[in-house]
């Protein structure tokens, strides 16, 4: 057996033994997955146990180095772990913006001390992070942001407000884009980390069309952000005033993550689940068939994207294209799910509809092509950076 085959069989055996049966049922929504944090409320003992055993092994973040709480797995091993987990239908033990966004940014831009301090807390699910990018006046045109951090010697005094901050009301800490130089648009932003329990931080949940309120308005009134949390642990990641570089790098990861949703659930065919409806709906069946073609194409495409990424041959702006395709596809998928479901799928609260899960999920997907950069912005980037179209 090759090393990878050995790894595969050992992984399978370990998962068999350690993943509680309850954690092998498909998650019905965000709440079924643990997001960690100081105030975490576990849905069940199984959920808690699953997080603990996985964190212990570093497998909440399989490809991070072990010294930062990761599993130290190679890309291939991490892929094997993902595949085996998918085969056994193991739920993700921990979801978080720390894992998907801040972690990769710290690994790239953080000092050794910052990494040692912040990354293990993320890996173990102890600290839950939120992302403070968008502001009321700065959405797609993010670089125009105005939340300001004034240098007060040993700390910055932060004033301003953010909006659409996902889970700000549940997060412990925020990674926040703060203007630290009003004269320089691009090189006047710093990437700051601070505690949401700081005095002067308030959050106000916003109700969405799906009926959930997963994001907030976030206000900062004279918030004191220490310049340092200890030897080498600056509150600013990367260089002071060069936070835009960190922000952009992180957005690349965010887009990659969101684009993954087009592959949704790993089922080969959306149509396979709706045979009865389609037998009497030829036009709907045709739509579904074309969707399944795209589904297979996107799946192949994601695989090629990953392989090119690994081999270093991918274009650096390619995740923008992936985000555009993946999110548009996911929206189409949920349009079809609603059409297949007919009036059953309209039910908003009933037991039979699992609390309106189809309708709520359908509405949630509409945000996919807005959050993390809109489809139109993705097309702008693809056209300028990949196709090298002229114009500013």
């Amino acid at each position: 057996m090759t090393d990878l085959e050995t790894f595969r069989s050992e992984t399978r055996a370990w998962l068999e033994e350690n993943c509680p049966a309850e954690m092998r049922k498909p998650a019905r929504g965000d709440d079924d997955i643990c997001w960690g944090g100081r105030n975490v409320v576990f849905q069940s003992d199984a959920q808690k146990q699953w997080l603990e055993v996985m964190a212990e092994r570093g497998w909440t973040v399989p490809d991070w180095p072990t010294e930062y709480g990761g599993g130290g797995l190679s890309r291939q091993e991490a892929k094997i772990l993902r595949t085996e987990m998918a085969k056994m239908k193991c739920r993700s033990p921990l979801n978080s913006f720390g894992i998907w966004m801040l972690g990769p940014a710290l690994l790239k831009f953080g000092t050794e001390e910052q990494k040692k301090h912040f990354l293990p807390q993320i890996a173990r699910g102890e600290i839950r992070w939120c992302q403070g990018y968008s502001e009321p006046g700065s959405g797609s045109d993010l670089v125009s942001l105005q939340t300001f951090g004034e240098d007060k010697g040993d700390h910055y005094e932060v004033n301003g407000s953010k909006i659409w901050t996902s889970y700000a009301d549940k997060a412990d800490w925020i990674f926040c884009l703060v203007r630290t130089n009003k004269e320089d648009k691009y090189q006047g932003i710093s990437f700051m980390l601070y505690d949401m329990t700081n005095e002067g931080v308030t959050t106000k949940p916003i109700l969405l069309i799906s009926g959930a309120s997963p994001f907030c308005e976030t206000f900062f009134d004279d918030v004191k952000v220490p310049k340092s949390y200890g030897e080498g642990i600056s509150s600013v990641v990367g260089e002071f005033n060069r936070g835009w570089d960190v922000a952009k790098y992180l957005l690349g990861h965010e887009r990659e993550m969101i684009s993954g949703m087009g592959g949704d659930g790993g089922t080969a065919s959306l149509g396979a689940g709706f045979k009865d409806v389609m037998a009497s709906e030829p036009v709907l069946r045709a739509q579904m068939a074309l969707f399944d073609v795209d589904g297979l194409a996107f799946r192949s495409h994601s695989e090629r994207f990953m392989d090119e990424w690994k081999s270093g041959t991918g274009h650096p702006a390619y995740s923008n294209l992936m985000k555009y395709i993946g999110t548009e596809l996911n929206k189409s998928r949920h349009e079809l799910v609603m059409a297949m479901g007919g009036s059953d799928a309209l039910e908003w609260e009933s037991e039979a509809s699992k609390g309106g899960s189809k309708a709520r999920n359908w509405l949630r997907t509409k945000a996919n092509s807005i959050e993390g950069g809109t489809s139109e912005v993705m097309l702008n980037v693809v056209s300028k950076r990949i196709l090298e179209m002229p114009g500013g």
């Binding site: 149509g271 396979a272 399944d292 194409a297 495409h301």
Partner: protein, 378 residues
């Protein structure tokens, strides 16, 4: 198999690209079109394909070929598509070779050498109606002596009148619509009772309508097993479909690149038209569609080369997606060229014509989307 080309494949890509660009660019295509050449391709170029080793790309090494797979054949086809290079490569070196691999030793020895040397052309006589419906084959093959007698009509036999041999799908049992009861025959060009009516197509290729009027063949002419032609036909079609899909990736990419160049040159309203966001977004969307097509075609080729059972599903998805994306590319391409796109002098129209023919060849995107649905159980 990884979804990126290895070193050998990258080298093949470079040499195929270089070769098509210098020996068979669109000017070569125009030359043969304008001559009203009865074959629709140049025998000289076909010999050059042989010198490059392309003709025997799928033929096993111990039989004189390169022993490579569908990924490699696809690399050549993409360049064929990009340059609109007319040749019998897809039918002869891809689909027919795939058929002959299921044939006996005698037949292989009879045909492989000529294919490898670029002397032999083989046609596929499968379709009987305007739409590709192989299971509907009605052409009859009745036992006669120790052989068979073929009766029926075929159409869309590309390069049929230039072919030395035709692979004919006929029914030895069962009835129209059934996949069992089909048998494949190798019919030589001068067989008595076979008549051809070659017609020029929109893309200037020449395809034949064929009448089989009691054509006598011996039992040796059977490719594969009697009544089980479907299993060989499936291989021929999978090879032909991924091949056509790869060629469409080339056609679509060629049209797209031309269009993007044009967007960067043409000025209106005091600006290069590529500065207009309305066009930029359509360009970026098109690029994404072509990228998806490229990926699913590569996946299908990988599965076929690995003998993976998902090959058929992915082949259907590949032919459908490549068809849709290539079609979008030529339509957007023509529109973004404005009036000049409508002129014969400009190449974009040639790409549009080629796309139409390739989309139809081996079944269009709707046919294959329907197959995806069926294979997915609905």
């Amino acid at each position: 198999m990884a979804m990126i080309l290895n070193d050998d494949q990258s080298m093949l890509k470079d040499s195929a690209r270089e070769f098509m660009k210098s020996e068979a660019p669109t000017t070569h295509f125009r030359e043969f079109r304008d001559k009203e050449c009865k074959d629709g391709f140049s025998h000289g170029l076909w010999k050059q394909f042989a010198e490059m080793g392309f003709t025997g790309i799928l033929i096993p090494e111990d039989e004189g070929g390169l022993g490579l797979g569908h990924v490699e054949a696809g690399i050549v086809l993409e360049e064929v598509g990009r340059n609109l290079s007319p040749s019998p490569f897809l039918t002869t070196s891809v689909a027919a070779v795939e058929a002959l691999k299921s044939a006996g030793k005698n037949m292989r020895e009879r045909w492989f050498p000529g294919i490898i040397s670029g002397e032999t052309v083989i046609g596929l006589a499968i379709d009987e109606s305007a739409k590709h419906r192989p299971a509907n084959t009605a052409c009859k093959a009745e036992r006669s002596g120790n052989g068979f007698k073929l009766t029926g009509a075929k159409q869309f036999v590309v390069q049929g009148a230039s072919s030395d041999m035709l692979i004919v799908a006929a029914r030895t049992a069962g009835s129209e619509g059934e996949t069992s009861g089909l048998t494949l025959f190798a019919v030589e060009k001068d067989a008595a009772g076979m008549s051809m009516d070659p017609v020029r197509l929109v893309d200037s290729a020449v395809a034949a309508h064929i009448d089989l009027n009691g054509v006598e063949v011996t039992a040796d002419a059977v490719i594969g097993e009697v009544d089980d032609g479907w299993s060989v036909l499936t291989k021929i079609l999978d090879a032909g479909r991924t091949g056509a899909a790869a060629e469409m990736v080339g056609v679509g990419s060629g049209a797209m690149d031309m269009t993007f160049d044009y967007l960067k040159q043409r000025k209106q309203f005091g600006k290069v038209i590529g500065e207009f966001q309305a066009l930029q977004h359509r360009a970026a969307h098109l690029y994404g569609e072509m990228e998806m097509a490229r990926s699913v075609v590569l996946k299908a080729q990988n599965f076929l080369d690995d003998g993976d059972e998902r090959g058929e599903l992915y082949t259907a998805a590949a032919k459908a997606k490549a068809g849709l994306a290539c079609n979008l590319s030529v339509r957007e391409g023509l529109q973004m060229h404005g009036g000049i796109g409508m002129t014969d002098e400009y190449d974009i129209g040639l790409y549009m014509k080629r796309d139409r023919a390739l989309n139809e060849f081996f079944g269009d995107a709707y046919f294959h989307a329907d197959r995806v649905a069926t294979m997915n159980g609905y």
